[in-house]
């Protein structure tokens, strides 16, 4: 029997489907004879008493989740997401650099440094990628800090905002599709496959409502993992292979019959009745991985 700590923040229980998924993890752990406790920010000193740590709060090297992950790692505990995966996936410049190095097919990307950002550079980018282009802050998550720009004025305005926090950012070719594939991968095996649909009239899965702070999300269509295209699954596994052996959500676009990786996310969303709809065993598989 193992003691598993699941690091969460209050917002993880705000959505009923996410809260239900968290309960499903607890049920799966207890079914296998393990203890499963929710660990909040104020209980971090209890980390050493556990055998494994499962992080569900949003991960980023800037957030408390990284402290939790690295502390557990230094103490020799099994941890998902491990600190290296958080470091890589939490920074798109790190991620795309590895994709380039290891020839992972990905959306054409250019890195832009604050010191080398000028009129000439903007024109060069538009010349290479055409218009519009997608400007992405390295710390993007949940479709935030990803914006489409078609002219120099908006390019400068978006870049100025993103450069406040990071001295470098990524610019990508705009490749609109009706949906992005999301392939859940655990320990080099496909766990689940979904289609994250793009809402009508928008260009990404999660889009901000005009004039409002809230987001509108596209539908999620879930497939049995056996029924997903083999090449898609192979591309996802290859992309995860350059990062590590943990739990990942790989976003892939299908363009002209080719699979192109958009990004690999550590700490992928798992909501009851969405990602688990046709792959209900995912909870048990993740728990098994944590304790073995």
């Amino acid at each position: 029997m193992a003691n598993i700590a699941c690091f969460v923040e209050k917002y993880n229980f705000a959505d009923s489907n996410e809260a239900m998924a968290l309960q499903n993890f607890k049920i799966a752990a207890e079914k296998q004879g393990h203890e499963f406790d929710f660990l909040f920010r104020k209980n971090l000193r209890e980390i050493p008493k556990y055998d494994a740590v499962f992080i569900r709060a949003t991960t980023d090297p800037l957030y408390t989740a990284y402290i939790v992950s690295k502390t557990a790692w230094e103490l020799g505990l099994k941890v998902v997401d491990d600190p290296k995966s958080i470091q890589i996936c939490g920074n798109k410049i790190h991620l795309y650099s590895l994709f380039s190095k290891y020839d992972i097919p990905h959306i054409p990307t250019i890195f832009l440094n604050k010191d080398a950002f000028n009129h000439k550079r903007i024109l060069e980018i538009f010349k290479v990628f055409g218009r519009p282009v997608v400007v992405k802050a390295p710390y993007t998550s949940f479709s935030r800090y990803v914006e489409k720009v078609a002219c120099e004025t908006s390019f400068r305005e978006v870049a100025k905002r993103f450069f406040r926090k990071s001295d470098a950012l990524t610019v990508q070719k705009f490749m609109p599709t009706a949906f992005d594939w999301r392939v859940g991968v655990l320990n080099d095996e496909v766990l689940y496959v979904c289609k994250y649909m793009v809402p009508k009239g928008r260009w990404k899965h999660g889009a901000k409502r005009r004039g409002k702070p809230s987001f509108i999300w596209g539908r999620t269509i879930t497939l049995k993992r056996e029924n997903a295209p083999t090449e898609l699954k192979e591309t996802a596994l290859k992309a995860c292979g350059v990062i590590g052996h943990g739990l990942y959500g790989v976003d892939i676009k299908e363009v002209d019959g080719n699979y192109v990786v958009v990004e690999v996310n550590d700490n992928p969303s798992i909501y009851a009745r969405y990602e688990d709809l046709r792959n209900e065993d995912l909870y048990g598989k993740i728990i098994e991985y944590l304790v073995n």
Binding site: L44, L98, N113, A116, E124, V128, N258
Partner: protein, 255 residues
């Protein structure tokens, strides 16, 4: 359609004479003007090249997402040994991880608490306490809270309105802050020792260290980046000396 293309703009970059074949020489990337005979490359130039050499990344600010971090990351992606590593940059700038790794390496530290709750701090430590920001954006060092309301204010401001947790340690002695350049500092022997040990563990060439002296014993409490204007001519000289030394020992370091 070939979608996996390596796109590099501005490829006509002058590469300093330090470039060599193999990894037998030291490449110094610095945002500080150094009086040395060695060729120094600017971070913005280095980030556009693929020069593979033992890289010494000299920067006054190594915080995550800043140029100092990206230089080390770029060197690692190229497969070059680099000082400091991106992992050490991340950990040294997050106080709980700094203290955890330092204590594992035998550097004296004090008990600490990562929290955003005033109540939890009060049930763990007596006043006064030292409060450090855990978010790596903060340039401010620490705040000393002598009572409940000061603690409340410190947690709120250093935690950026509760978005981030803070790291709290008891204040049992006196706080000291000093510059550490390649682990060297002009302080008492006990303090110099701690500075050297911190450099051995994290290899952050330029930083400010916060320590607490309790009686004769010194304890590491925090690490912070330096502002460029805090670097004096004497500090720049030490940096030049150290990189000249590293350059002389280059073969040994890489081997």
């Amino acid at each position: 359609m070939n979608i996996n293309v390596q796109l590099v703009l501005n490829t006509t970059i002058a590469i300093p004479s330090i470039q060599s074949s193999g990894v037998t020489c030291v490449l110094v990337v610095s945002n500080i003007d150094l009086p040395t005979n060695l060729a120094i490359m600017k971070p913005s130039t280095f980030l556009e090249t693929s020069i593979k050499d033992f890289t010494v990344n000299i920067n006054n600010d190594y915080r995550y997402l800043k140029t100092g971090y990206y230089v080390s990351l770029h060197a690692e992606i190229l497969g070059s040994p680099v000082i400091p590593s991106s992992e050490n940059i991340l950990d040294a700038n997050r106080i709980p991880l700094l203290l955890l790794k330092a204590s594992k390496a035998g550097i004296p530290t004090l008990p600490f608490l990562v929290t955003d709750s005033v109540k939890q701090v009060m049930s763990s430590f007596e006043f006064p306490v030292v409060v450090f920001a855990v978010n790596p954006f903060s340039y401010e060092g620490f705040e000393i809270a002598k009572n409940r309301s000061a603690l409340y204010r410190a947690i709120k401001s250093l935690g950026r309105n509760y978005k981030f947790a803070v790291c709290v340690q008891p204040l049992l002695g006196e706080m000291f802050t000093f510059k550490s350049i390649f682990g060297r500092c002009k302080q008492a022997k006990s303090i110099e020792q701690i500075s050297r040990k911190v450099y051995d563990v994290f290899e952050v060439p330029i930083c400010k260290l916060h320590i607490q002296r309790i009686g004769k014993k010194v304890h590491l409490c925090g690490l912070q980046p330096l502002r460029k204007e805090e670097l004096l001519a004497v500090d720049v000289e030490i940096i030049s000396e150290e990189i000249s030394q590293l350059s002389k020992n280059g073969d040994y370091l890489i081997g």
